[in-house]
Amino acid sequence: MRLPDKTCTIEDAIARIPEGATVMVGGFGVPGTPFTLIRELVRQGQRNLTLIKNDANERGMGIDHLIANGQVARLITTHIGLNPRAIEMLNAGHLAVEFNAQGILAERVRAGGAGLKAIVTDIGLATELADGKPRIEIAGKPALVETALRADVALIHAHRADVFGNLDYVATARNFNPLMAMAADMVIAEAEAVMPLGDLAADEVHTPGPFVDHVVGLTEISEEYAVVRR
């Protein structure tokens, strides 16, 4: 028994994304955003996408390129305050945005990755985010049913990958990546380094290889990763 090799060119990996796909994108701000995969998706130009991402990056970075390019029909997110373009498009009715509490977005994605149908929570009960969501009682108290989220594709940024798709992440670049790497029918990971089998210690893997479909090695680190001097 040996574990199969899942390395792939970025062109081939992104070409598997169809028009109209639902795409999860890792990252919280800059760290963990798969900038290189996103750039290739901009280049190939698939349209009418639903994106699921914590935030909308900043103007001129990450998924803002997809939004600016008119490829995004809908965004499921928690906070887009750092991207004025996304806010303008939301206000003008050119981008449908669904807001979630941040930890609930994380749990909905995780529930999708865990093959659950929904989670039940009291988070946001008093807020307008609860509007229209089914309510049930647990131990006599009201709670919201938040359905699981899955995607056709997840775009992941890893620190290291082995050729089978075992991944690790570094520092706060982990964030939504391990959750999304479980929650899509096709998981594409870009990695700053691709290692031979056995070079990632089995106890230190953050995303087990069986969840990952395609591994893309990065030949250079996107300049969008540079430290921002505000």
């Binding site: 574990l3 865990a114 075992n166 479980m182 089995a202 087990p208 290889g209």
Partner: protein, 217 residues
Amino acid sequence: MSDARNRMVARAAREIAPGMVVNLGIGLPTKVVDHLSADFPVCLHTENGLSGIGPTLPPEAANRNLIDAGGAYVSTVPGSAFFDSAVSFALVRSGRLDLTMLGAFEVAETGDLANWKIPGKFSPGAGGGIELAQKARRVVVLTTHTDRAGNPKLKSACALPITARACVNRVFTDLAVIDITPAGFTLRELAVGVSLAEVTEATGAALLLPGGEIPTF
């Protein structure tokens, strides 16, 4: 292991396609691993938290912290990963398990499986069996065709408590390979030296015969 059982296990091993993620249930299915070559591309999963199971180890070579779900001391391969029980079943329930091989008390012609409880006799709990049966993309059963008393284990309906409904795709027995199709049990292969009459006799429901010659294994 008898020749007939060994042939059944060897035949079941050929069910594994290159690149699959596979969970081998406790008992007969575990033996399938002995029929996979060292360079066959496959990822074996055990629900107690390991992808990439390597060969079983004798006690003197064992790691006290490294077992499979059946308690056997196993090893890793290059590229193995350990994870917790929630992640392990996330993999099962979310469709990442291509194939599971399970044992059975009874299989119904509808694909219902009973393999976890004999009321009043055997009630240890279901462990991970329900999720494996319900959520693996393909479920195959390895079992003797009849129980120790000679009663059929393939039946029109399960009498025992169900593990999962309409989950079994194929059954490997010491006598035959049988698919569960919309029409019911369908004979695909016969064990060498076993007659059609023998299999029909040992099966507790109608057995459909496809046209043409029936291959042997």
